[in-house]
Structures are given as structure tokens and as C-alpha cells.
């Protein structure tokens, strides 16, 4: 009967129900979009770091993110690192902004990422068309299919120029987007060096370190730091965090996204609390009657909480439908919104929490009911 009563109370006043649901819907969609953008941005920012099969990253001191490494370290550092106890493998990686000249004129900034895939450090990022072998062909590079237009090319086989060198699209990745909006251009290490004007050198932006199985990563890090001067050594997790901090918090973007989500929760809570309170006020005589009939206060609280819970579930379902439509629509934009099962579950928790908080004022209201009012109607 608690459920029946809650359900009927809720559906008795359709307009109020609509307002409640719009409130929850608004919250869910806002929170979903904000957090989905945050997730999408995070993934973009750290995709290259997360894809690398490395335990430790050796980088020039103060490198803020994947794109901010400079070109400083050479073979000397590599050998020093290789000689460090516990180190199994050291792979150089070149990452550098440079100019891409479109075949039809004009240019755009790209990020050249150079690595030798057979070293195993950076797995070719979701190659969609072509293989790593295709990228090893003369002049060949891989770019993401979503940036073809920005790069002024149509697809495999098209050519452009980076610096003085001709490049040819030999493979395509899918869904590898760049937070800086400068497309990544993947190519083997030596070609990358020549594309960024360091032809023939042994320079690298990062050295990716694999430690021997069973080795204490912290210990290896300390060993590395003792040998390498002016370099920093971060675990993959730390570098991931540092990149996020750089792009999402130094720039304020992340704060805006999370702030927006919190605002969504706040507005939703206020709307639901308001409608639930006014519903309880409208049904106050019924609650007083229940009390007169001898119901416990817990029984009445359960009716209100069930009303809140029902609103949460209905609002969540509607909100998620709308949020998923928005997520779908965002997939072709420069910053696609990401929805994960965890985020969906998190949103449900937020919704239930929001509705439970909203029920507080209504519960306080019924707690003050004087059952004597049942006779004075």
C-alpha cells in the first residue's frame, strides 16, 4: 500500500509530476553532458599516455603534458637508463608540434608522434585502415579519419608536406582525437625526427621505460633519478594525472565542467525538494489521517521516500534517454561526450541521492503533523 499511495499521490497531480520530472531530467542531462565532456576530454588528453606500454616515463624536467615535452634527450640518457638496475627496456618517443601544409595550400598545426612500434612501447592507436607496415613505407604516416578534412586530404594515398618533407597518408586511425585540436600524425621514429627538423639526430621527447617483471617500480624510479640529471621520471599514472591537471585545471576547463555538473545537481535538488514539499503539503490531511489510524511515523516517511524514489527512477530513465541522444549527436563534434556504464551508474546514484535529500523538507513537514487536525476539517 505504501507504493500504491506514493504512486497515486505522484500521478494525482500531473502538472507537479511534470515539473518534478523536468527538474530531474534537467539535472541528469546537465550532469551527464558536463561529466561526459569531462570524461571525453580526459580520454583525449591521456589517450596516448594510456596506450603506451610503459611503467615509467623519463621526460625533460617540468614537462606538463604529452604535447609539452620538448626535444632534449638523446642516446646518452637512453643508455644511462638502460644501464639502470631493474630496467628491461627503454623506448624513445618523439612528440612535437609542427606545421602541416595542405596539398591545396594553407597550413595547420599537427602533433607528430614518432615511435617504433616493434619496440612495443606505443601500440598503434586503433588503426582502422592499413597496418603498421603501411606506416613504415617511405614517407608514410597515419592520421585520424576525423581530421582528414582539416588536413586538406581525402584519404589513403593522398600527400601533403611537413616542413620540407613530403608525407603520404598510409594508414588511418579511428576516434583518436586531440584535445588541442591539432591532429596527431603517427610515423616511425626516424621519420618523425626528420619531420620536426632533427634529422639524423638521436633526440627524443620521452623515454618509455619497462621494468623487469617483479621489480619495484618506485625503486627503479629512484635509481633512474640518481643517474639522470635534469630529467623527471613519472609513472604512467602520474603522467596521466599531470596531463589532466594541465589541460583541465590550469586552463579552467575542468573546473567549468565540474562546476556545471554541481550546479545541475543543485538546481535539480531544489526543484524536486520544492515539488515534493508542496505535494506533501497538499496531502497533509491524508498523512494526518494515517497518523490518526495509528500508522508509525516511519510508515509515512516511507510513503514520501517512495514518492521521491519513484520520481528518481522515472526521471532517471527519461533523463538518460535524452542524455544518450545528446551523446550520440556529439560524436561528430570536435569534443565528443563520453557515456560509460560507470557514469550511468553514477548518475543514477546522484539522482537517488538528490531525491532523498529533496525528501528531507517534506519529511520534516510531516513530522510536525498534529493528528488532531483530522477532526477539524
Amino acid at each position: 500500500m505504501i507504493f500504491t499511495l506514493a504512486f497515486r499521490n505522484l500521478f494525482h497531480d500531473r502538472i507537479r509530476l511534470a515539473v518534478t520530472l523536468v527538474g530531474i531530467l534537467f539535472s541528469i542531462v546537465l550532469v551527464a553532458v558536463q561529466l561526459g565532456l569531462y570524461l571525453g576530454a580526459s580520454r583525449m588528453i591521456t589517450a596516448n599516455i594510456d596506450h603506451a606500454d610503459a611503467d615509467l616515463w623519463i621526460m625533460p624536467f617540468g614537462a606538463k603534458s604529452f604535447e609539452d615535452g620538448g626535444l632534449l634527450m638523446g642516446t646518452r640518457e637512453r643508455h644511462q637508463a638502460l644501464a639502470t638496475p631493474g630496467v628491461a627496456q627503454v623506448t624513445p618517443l618523439v612528440v612535437r608540434f609542427t606545421e602541416w601544409r595542405k596539398p591545396a595550400g594553407g597550413s595547420t598545426r599537427v602533433v607528430v608522434v614518432g615511435t617504433d612500434a616493434e619496440d612495443g612501447a606505443v601500440k598503434p592507436l586503433s588503426l582502422k585502415t592499413g597496418t603498421w607496415e603501411d606506416i613504415k613505407a617511405p614517407d608514410s604516416i597515419a592520421v585520424d579519419e576525423t581530421y582528414l578534412k582539416d588536413l586538406g586530404v581525402d584519404g589513403i594515398g593522398d600527400t601533403a608536406q611537413i616542413g620540407p618533407s613530403r608525407v603520404k597518408v598510409g594508414a588511418l586511425t579511428s576516434g583518436v582525437r586531440s584535445f588541442t585540436q591539432s591532429p596527431y600524425v603517427y610515423t616511425p621514429l626516424s621519420r618523425a625526427r626528420s619531420l620536426v627538423g632533427a634529422e639524423g639526430s638521436d633526440l627524443a621527447t620521452f623515454h618509455l621505460v619497462k621494468v623487469y617483471p617483479g621489480q619495484d617500480v618506485e625503486q627503479v624510479r629512484t635509481n633512474l633519478l640518481n643517474r639522470l640529471e635534469g630529467a623527471e621520471v613519472l609513472t604512467t599514472g602520474e603522467f596521466h594525472q599531470r596531463s589532466l591537471r594541465q589541460w583541465l585545471f590550469r586552463t579552467g576547463a575542468g573546473v567549468a565542467l565540474i562546476g556545471g555538473a554541481l550546479l545541475g545537481i543543485l538546481v535539480g535538488t531544489v526543484i524536486v525538494a520544492q515539488t515534493l514539499y508542496s505535494s506533501t503539503k497538499d496531502h497533509i490531511n491524508e498523512f494526518a489521517t494515517l497518523r490518526a489510524l495509528g500508522s508509525s511515523s516511519g510508515y509515512i516517511h516511507k510513503v514520501i521516500l517512495t514518492q521521491a524514489g519513484l520520481s528518481a527512477v522515472i526521471g532517471y530513465v527519461l533523463g538518460m534517454v535524452l542524455a544518450l541522444l545528446i551523446v550520440l549527436a556529439s560524436q561528430s563534434t570536435p569534443l565528443p561526450i563520453v557515456m560509460t556504464p560507470q557514469l550511468a551508474a553514477g548518475l543514477f546514484t546522484v539522482t537517488v541521492f538528490m531525491c532523498a535529500i529533496s525528501a528531507v523538507s517534506a519529511i520534516v513537514k510531516v513530522t510536525k503533523i498534529d493528528p488532531a487536525t483530522v477532526f477539524s476539517r
Binding site: M1, L5, E286, L290, L293, G294, S297, A372, R377
Partner: protein, 267 residues
Amino acid sequence: MTRKKSAAPAAKENKPKPKPEPVLSATNIVKELGRGAGTVMALKGVDLRLVPGELTLLMGPSGSGKTTLLSILGCIMTPTSGELTVAGTKTAGLSPDELAVLRRDHIGFIFQSYNLFPTLSALENVRIALDVRGQKGYEAARRCEEVLREVGLGHRLRNFPGNLSGGEQQRVAVARAIVSSPSIVLADEPTAALDGENGNAVMELLARIAHEQGRSVLAVTHDPRTLPYADRVVRIEDGLIVGEERRPEGLDAPEITDLTKRRKAHA
């Protein structure tokens, strides 16, 4: 349901009828309402006992304290002073939730404006009275249907209050009050909103509940049409009990048309 007319055979043997134990007894109840300068002494020392199997009417002018007394007897309001015992439990010092339990276990209420839940059907309105007592499921539903049939609403189970006449709504309320088999039924002006025929039907029901089910029924009223159904009439004025009449032994309820007239005739 508790104590059925156990006294009946004894009466035939012409022995003095043993007085049934009261299920509710109120002693020297005082109630002040309002605060400060606006304080009203609604009850000024009321004594009242209710025994099983009797329909008692509480009559008095408007503002005399009837509703206040009913609220106190029903453990809905606490008296300023005085002692109230319900089904053997002294109510002094009980918490609101303990009072709720006392109401739940022993008292059924009927209100002037029915106080039905507009969003629940007749059957559901009765079921909720069992539901708050933790009685759910098929058995409870069947019991509710049975009681609704008893009050003549077997054909209105799925109707909502909005689709029932006033008389039917009050009968739903009666069913709700008795479904849990309380020993005490308290009704505040149960016929005030009803026309003669419907009012009589409800009073007949209350009399049957008292006589056939052995409950103790107290109805507040100022409607003289209710008199024929009473076993006993208590009069209240200005917060004090000013008189009490009892239906003489051997008289069937409908024959005592007006106790007031009878008293005047005696005088």
C-alpha cells in the same frame, strides 16, 4: 469482537447484571487549548467510562468540547491533566509513537468529513488501515472485502471516493474503522454531512457494531435523529458533563425515540 453479550443469560436469572469492565476510562480530564491570553478551558474535569457492547452518544452544543474530548479519548490529543486508561493501558507519559500504537491496536475512528484517501479505491481505503498494522497480502484483502460487504458496499469495492455518495463514503470509513477489530470506535459527527436516510443507515451500522460485535462505540453528535440508536446519551456543556441518560432495560433501541422527552415526561 472481544466481550460479546456475556451478561445476557445472567439477566434472565434475575440476578443483578455484573457490570462489564470499561475498555476506556477517563477521570477528571482537563484540557486547555490555545496559549497566552487566548487560552480556552475546553474541558474542565470530565469523567467518562465506555463499556463493550454499547453505543454512547455524546451530545452538546457547538463549542462545548465534544471534539476535544473525543480527541483525548482517542489518544490523539493529550489532556492537560487527568487520567486516561485505554484497554488497560494508562496513557500518561506515552510518546507520540506509543500513542499511535495504542490507537492502532484498540481504536477505530470515523470522521465527519470521512477523511478517505481520494486517490485510493474503497477497498484500498480499507486495506490501508490493515497495512499500517503490518497486515498485508491476500488474507488482509479478503478481510477488507468482507467488511465492505458487511457495510453494504460489496458492489463498490473498486470505486474511488469521488464516485461514491456521502453515505457510501461514510460507510467506507466505518469499514476502515472496524476492519482491524478495535474494541473502541470513536465517531465525530458521523451523520452531520448526510441526509436522513444515509444518516440512519450509518447509525444503524454503528449500533450493530456495538451490539453484534461487542465493541464500545462513542459517537459525537448534535443530530436528534441519532437518538433512537443510543444505549446511552452523555450531555456535555461548556467543558463539563451535565447529564447522562440510559436506555431502560428491556427496551429495544428503536423504541426509545427520544430520551430527552422521556426524561421530561418523568419530571
